[in-house]
C-alpha cells in the first residue's frame, strides 16, 4: 500500500518530500537510539565478580508491580498507535470529526504515558535510588544501571512529549478547519513519527525492563 495518503507537495523517489524528510529524520533518530542501546549493552557486559560493577536483575529492581505498570504503559502506547492509524484512515475518508476524535485519543494516550513515566521516575529517584539525592547512600550494583535507565527512558520521553505537541497541533488544525481531507499527508507524516516512538519503546521496554 504505497502512499496511503494524498496530500500537497512535490514528490521524490515516488513518495512525497514531506514523507521522505520524516523518514530521513527517523533514520537519523533511530541511529541515535541504536547508539544508546548499544552503549547500554556494552556497559552491562561486565564481570559480575568485580565489586560494585554487577548489573542488577531489572525485574527485581523495579519489582513485579513496577514491571506490570510499565507493561500497562506499553499497552497505552500501542493503543495510541492504533488510534493514530485510525485518525489517518478517517482523514482519508474525509470524516474529519472522527479524525479529530481519534487524534484527541492519541494525545490523551501520550499524556497518560508521560504521567505514568513521571510517577515511575519519582518513585525510582526517591525510593529505589536514594543516592541520586543523597551522596552518602549507595546501592550494591553498578550505578550505570540508573544512568542508562534515565538516559534511555528520558530521551524516549522527550520524543513522546514532542509527539504529543505535534499531534495536538494537528488536532487544533482539524478542529479549526485549516486541515482538510486534502491534507492527509500531514497526518500520515505525524503518524510516522508517533509509530516510531512506539516502535522504539518496544525495544527500550525489552532491553531495559525485561532482559
Amino acid at each position: 500500500m504505497a502512499n496511503v495518503a494524498v496530500g500537497p507537495g512535490e514528490e521524490s523517489l515516488g513518495v512525497s518530500n514531506g514523507k521522505l524528510g520524516m523518514w530521513t529524520f527517523l533514520v537519523m533518530d533511530a541511529m541515535t537510539f541504536a547508539g544508546f542501546l548499544a552503549a547500554y549493552a556494552r556497559l552491562r557486559w561486565k564481570d559480575a565478580l568485580i565489586d560494585g560493577t554487577a548489573w542488577p536483575n531489572p525485574y527485581h529492581t523495579f519489582g513485579v508491580v513496577g514491571i506490570q505498570l510499565t507493561a500497562l504503559n506499553t499497552f497505552i502506547l500501542v493503543c495510541s498507535s492504533v488510534t493514530m492509524v485510525h485518525a489517518l484512515a478517517e482523514v482519508m475518508r474525509g470524516n474529519m470529526k472522527r479524525a479529530e476524535n481519534w487524534l484527541l485519543a492519541t494525545v490523551i494516550g501520550g499524556l497518560i504515558f508521560l504521567g505514568i513515566q513521571g510517577f515511575e521516575w519519582t518513585h525510582l529517584i526517591s525510593d529505589v535510588w536514594p543516592y541520586l539525592g543523597d551522596p552518602t547512600q549507595t546501592v550494591p550494583y553498578s550505578k550505570n544501571f540508573a544512568s542508562t535507565f534515565f538516559a534511555l527512558t528520558g530521551f524516549h520521553g522527550g520524543h513522546v512529549s514532542v509527539g504529543v505537541i505535534y499531534n495536538f497541533t494537528l488536532f487544533l488544525g482539524i478542529r479549526s478547519g485549516k486541515l482538510t481531507k486534502d491534507h492527509g499527508d500531514f497526518v500520515e507524516i505525524a503518524g510516522l513519527y508517533w509509530h516510531f516512538v512506539d516502535l522504539i519503546w518496544i525495544l527500550v521496554f525489552t532491553f531495559v525492563y525485561l532482559i
Partner: protein, 101 residues
C-alpha cells in the same frame, strides 16, 4: 464509481487489519512480561539464554509489525524499505564494534 467503492472496501479491511495487529501486539506484550517471571502464571523459571533470545525475538517481531503495518512499510517502495532498514544494519555493526571480544 466501482473504483471508489472498491477503495472503501479496502479501507474497511485496513481498519480490521489495524485491530488484528493491535491484538497481536498486546498478546506479545503479555508473553514478554511472563517470560522473565513465569511464576506469574504458575510456571517454572526458564533458562536465562532462552529468556534473552525469546525476548529479543518477540521485540523484533513487534518492531516489524509496527513498521510494516502501522508505518505502512509493507507494500511501500523497496527504496523506502531499504532506507528504513539502515539503522538496524548500523546498530548490528555498532554493537559488534564496541564489544570487547
Amino acid at each position: 464509481m466501482a473504483h471508489k467503492e472498491a477503495k472503501w472496501v479496502f479501507h474497511d479491511l485496513l481498519h480490521l487489519q489495524y485491530w488484528v495487529i493491535w491484538a497481536v501486539l498486546l498478546v506479545f506484550t503479555f508473553i514478554e512480561v511472563v517470560i522473565p517471571e513465569p511464576s506469574l502464571v504458575g510456571l517454572d523459571t526458564f533458562p536465562r539464554t532462552f529468556v534473552i533470545i525469546a525476548l529479543i525475538m518477540i521485540a523484533l517481531v513487534k518492531t516489524v509489525l509496527v513498521a510494516g503495518y502501522y508505518m505502512h512499510l509493507i507494500g511501500d517502495k523497496p527504496a523506502m524499505i531499504m532506507v528504513a532498514a539502515t539503522p538496524f544494519i548500523f546498530s548490528i555493526f555498532l554493537t559488534i564494534g564496541i564489544f570487547p571480544y
